[in-house]
Symmetry: C2
């Protein structure tokens, strides 16, 4: 069984998609995050907690006791606020991004696990090819689905 046979039907988004669209995808499908494509090429994983992070003003993140004041004020809805931005705006700067964990379509289950473990990523992108036009994204693999596959598998530990 290879990575391309294991992938789940999970959505990807582009850098120019609305931030509200990706937030809804994650919320409705209870995803740990989504893969972000730029010109067809996977460039990042955007996690659910990164979207939450974008919604909360920085001064409130630093002092959550201020959150109670916010709750009492009237303002744009969170969805309206997100609708003003794109996925590009949501992504943290390069240094703080969740590293893009990616394997080729013919990677084995243990290779998938090794890459996910090393990158500490909740999502793995399974894709072949390189360059602007040549990338074929087979799909995504979540850590929980990979665990399900691993539990049924014989591998060596040590």
């Amino acid at each position: 069984m290879r990575a391309r046979d294991l992938v789940e039907e999970l959505p990807t988004v582009t850098m120019d998609d609305g931030a509200d669209h990706v937030a809804r995808l994650i919320a409705e499908q209870r995803l740990p995050g989504v893969a972000v494509l730029d010109k067809g090429k996977p460039v990042a994983v955007l996690t659910a907690s990164q979207v939450v992070r974008f919604v909360v003003p920085e001064y409130v993140q630093e002092d959550p006791s201020l959150a109670r004041v916010l709750d009492e004020r009237t303002a744009d809805s969170c969805a309206d606020e997100l609708a003003k931005h794109t996925v590009r705006d949501l992504l943290p700067s390069h240094g703080s991004r969740v590293p893009l964990a990616m394997v080729a379509g013919d990677a084995t289950v243990v290779e998938c696990a090794a890459v996910m473990a090393r990158m500490r990523s909740p999502l793995l992108v399974v894709a072949d090819g390189k360059g602007r036009d040549g990338v074929v994204v087979h799909g995504l693999l979540t850590a929980s689905h990979l665990l399900e596959v691993l539990l049924a598998k014989r591998i060596v530990k040590n």
Copy 2:
């Protein structure tokens, strides 16, 4: 609406539960992770990718190309291997743990988001009280569920 009204029916585990039990919980319920209790007190969040990490030998994490060799060998099943260990064994050392994001039962939605954002955690523990016997865990909140609540909510950004 307060944190205790938002919590999801998600499982918790104890330090002495079997590692295979927690792996199955995460796999079957497609969880981003579980909260770990020690003597009734929440002490850590164990993420799906941390369990995957435990399953993969360190030398394979460092060089995933070695994974193909592993796949060809016969050995204990991954589940058998996990069954030899407890949650305590799975948890990374204190320095590498996902910090425990926790709020009180009466925390507001924005407070929940602020704490989750600051701790960059995929899971939030909602609990009241302190000390060995005094902690009441109301439940857990995933980032994706919190996003769903936020999308319906009016808050101030800026």
